[in-house]
């Protein structure tokens, strides 16, 4: 079983299916939960799923990390550094946006006092 799981195609299948299941768990939490913090956590879980999908699908077992150490190695056997740089930017920006959203939730709680989205009906009357 270990030899079957070590092939490149089965690793791609595992990564695709696993990260898509994680994305749908996050979507399920976004649709059904009512507290503010749980909605933000669902959004963060969806972002983590997308990062795993990205990095997992360019993974090649025979290549190493894109860092040169102790002299020149043959650069053709290293991983691709461009997706790593993009995901680095995406992680930082995701954290910044969630921090801003959390401050909105705190200010709304100070004004009206409710923390659930079911009771946000000030515009209804």
């Amino acid at each position: 079983m270990f030899e079957y799981l070590n092939q490149a195609e089965s690793i791609k299948n595992i990564v695709t299916i696993g990260s898509m299941v994680l994305l749908f768990i996050g979507l399920f939490g976004l649709l059904t939960q009512k507290h503010f913090i749980k909605i933000f956590i669902s959004i963060a879980i969806m972002e983590t799923a997308i990062f795993l999908f990205f990095i997992g699908n360019i993974f090649n077992k025979n290549f190493t990390a894109p860092i040169i150490n102790d002299g020149f190695k043959n650069v053709a056997i290293m991983n691709d550094p461009i997706p790593h740089a993009m995901i680095l930017t995406a992680i930082v920006i995701g954290m910044a946006v969630l921090a801003l959203g959390v401050s909105f939730a705190i200010e709304y709680y100070k004004l009206t006092g409710n923390t659930e989205i079911d009771k946000m009906n000030e515009m209804r009357h």
């Binding site: 089965s10 595992i14 990390a65 709680y109």
Partner: protein, 79 residues
């Protein structure tokens, strides 16, 4: 061996994420989200991406979860 590690870690991440959303108290939900961050750090390390693993460990399982905890303290103030 790598395929088995990836499969096992994915199954644990999915379980911990599902339990993180189901919880009734919000503090437990944030702590279980840190577990999702830890699992993804392990996966990034197995995928030969050390920069991304370090960034996710510091930001995802560090500052981001702590910002949620600080906001939870303010959201529960009753006085």
């Amino acid at each position: 061996m790598i395929g088995f590690i990836i499969l096992f870690t994915f199954i644990s991440i999915i379980t911990v994420a599902f339990f993180s959303i189901i919880q009734k108290k919000e503090a437990d939900s944030i702590i279980l989200f840190m577990g999702v961050g830890l699992g993804s750090v392990i996966l990034f390390f197995v995928f030969s991406a050390p920069d991304v693993a370090l960034t996710e460990a510091v930001i995802g399982a560090g500052i981001s979860s702590l910002i949620f905890l600080m906001a939870l303290k303010h959201l529960k103030a009753t006085a």
